[in-house]
């Protein structure tokens, strides 16, 4: 083999142009991962402690409330009790084998008086995670038969908002087979009335779909103008690919309500933007939806 040939080839290889987005992509990925791994790990840890102490505390509370009316009265003045609806880690599945990694955590809601709602949600979470776990095991077996490979799954949850009225829980699944995909699902609960809030239930009619979609499209284009590395598949931004541009949100689009009482619409990876954008969220200005809101209880 001629050495010069290799030099030439190496030069070609080293001349592969580096796109300017690379820096942004790397930094964003590192940032995202910090949120996904480090911070959350700490949260789980904390919630583990809370779970144990809460259980003990709850028992004591129940006893005291039942036995002492005076205590019950003083309690209502203590802010913590208003916030008794909590999210705890209920069940964990873990698999740890050389190249196979599963870390599945199911959230569990506790403290709602509306037990039907509490149980429905908790059963759903357990069901979801059980399914994930079983799918993972099946994938792992089939990979093992085919000479092995890497397989990872991580699921867990984040409490997006926890105020006096609102509890928004996001469950995520990060699939690290092939190109990693992340899926987020949210549930938002009205803690006072103890009902599950759905997107359609917030609005008087279905006009919200168009109003919100238009706003999101506008935000996408503005973000792109301000920083051309932020790219969305939407008309108004030059598209290099033939991917169908974003038209409108689903009636039951993923959403949550943030601590500032604003509606946040969330899209999974690849839903409206290239993979490097990850999960994208849009905060909807309340002004544009105030006319069609059923009430301003949740969204202000």
């Amino acid at each position: 083999m001629n050495g010069n040939n290799f030099e030439q080839l190496k030069k070609e290889y080293m001349d592969i142009p580096i796109p300017e987005e690379l820096d942004f992509v790397v930094k964003k990925a590192l940032q995202d991962s910090n949120i996904y791994s480090k911070k959350k790990r700490k949260q789980y840890y904390k919630s583990g402690i809370t779970a144990a102490s809460m259980a003990a505390a709850l028992m004591a509370f129940t006893l005291l409330i039942n036995t002492s009316p005076v205590f019950a009265e003083t309690l209502s003045a203590v802010p913590i009790v208003k916030n008794l609806v909590k999210v705890l880690t209920f069940r964990e599945y873990t698999v740890k084998e050389d190249t196979y990694n599963a870390e599945i955590k199911a959230p569990s809601i506790d403290g709602l008086n509306n037990k039907t709602l509490e149980n429905t949600l908790n059963d759903k979470y357990i069901e979801e995670n059980k399914k994930l776990y079983e799918e993972f095991l099946a994938d792992m077996e089939s990979l093992k038969e085919n000479n092995g490979g890497q397989l990872g799954i991580k699921s867990g949850y984040v409490v997006k908002t926890d105020t006096d009225t609102i509890l928004s829980i996001g469950r995520y699944v990060v699939n690290t087979v092939g190109s990693s995909s992340t899926i987020f699902k949210y549930d938002t609960i009205d803690k006072k009335n103890e009902v599950l809030i759905t997107l359609p239930s917030l609005f008087k009619d279905e006009s919200y779909v168009d109003i919100i979609s238009e706003n999101i499209k506008k935000q996408m284009v503005e973000q792109h103008k301000a920083n051309n590395k932020k790219f969305y598949w939407v008309s108004g931004i030059d598209q290099k690919t033939s991917i169908k541009p974003f038209e409108k949100i689903l009636k039951g689009q993923n959403f949550y309500i943030n601590a500032e009482n604003k509606l946040v619409i969330s899209f999974d990876k690849y839903e409206v933007a290239p993979g490097y954008m990850g999960i994208v969220e849009f905060t909807i200005p309340t002004e544009i939806i105030s006319n069609i809101l059923v009430s301003t209880e949740y969204i202000k």
Partner: protein
């Protein structure tokens, strides 16, 4: 605590070597967007499976391996890759060696099976040692060596043909 510092080490490493990783990804997927996707996904994978990194001194090879696997997975997903049976892969024998008389080295390299091409790229473009390549590809050294020589042989045949 130990894990946190490891995560930081990995992050630093990735930032410094991002261009090498990008090139490597690009050499597989041949497209800017996909290569960026691979880099990003590799970072996610790496940081979510820090536990699989047993020895911090292996960050380099460990991360290369993730990039290569992610690239291959992406190709597999896109079904651009025609699957090749184990035997063909191992022997690195190319079907129609002397059909194209004027093939240049670049095309010859492209026509090598992936795992042979990886070896050439890592050895000659990334200047890795054979031991490191073996680690990246999760093979033993003698396999890597024999594949390397066979690949060189094939390339030579192609160049001279």
């Amino acid at each position: 605590m130990k894990k946190d510092s490891l995560v930081k080490q990995i992050a630093d490493y990735v930032i410094i070597h991002k261009e090498s990783y990008y090139r490597l990804a690009y050499s597989y997927v041949k497209n800017v967007d996909d290569a960026l996707d691979v880099v990003q996904d590799s970072i996610y994978k790496a940081l979510s499976s820090v536990d699989s990194l047993k020895d911090p001194s292996h960050i380099k090879t460990w991360f290369y391996r993730i990039v290569i696997n992610t690239s291959l997975d992406l190709l597999r997903k896109q079904k651009k890759v025609v699957s090749v049976d184990e035997e063909t892969l191992i022997s690195c024998h190319i079907k129609v060696v002397d059909k194209y008389a004027d093939i240049d080295l670049h095309n010859a390299l492209e026509s090598l099976p992936e795992n042979c091409r990886s070896i050439i790229i890592l050895r000659y473009f990334e200047d890795m040692k054979l031991e490191e390549i073996a680690e990246v590809l999760n093979e033993n050294i003698s396999t890597v060596k024999s594949r390397l020589y066979k690949s060189l042989e094939v390339l030579q045949i192609k160049m001279e043909a």
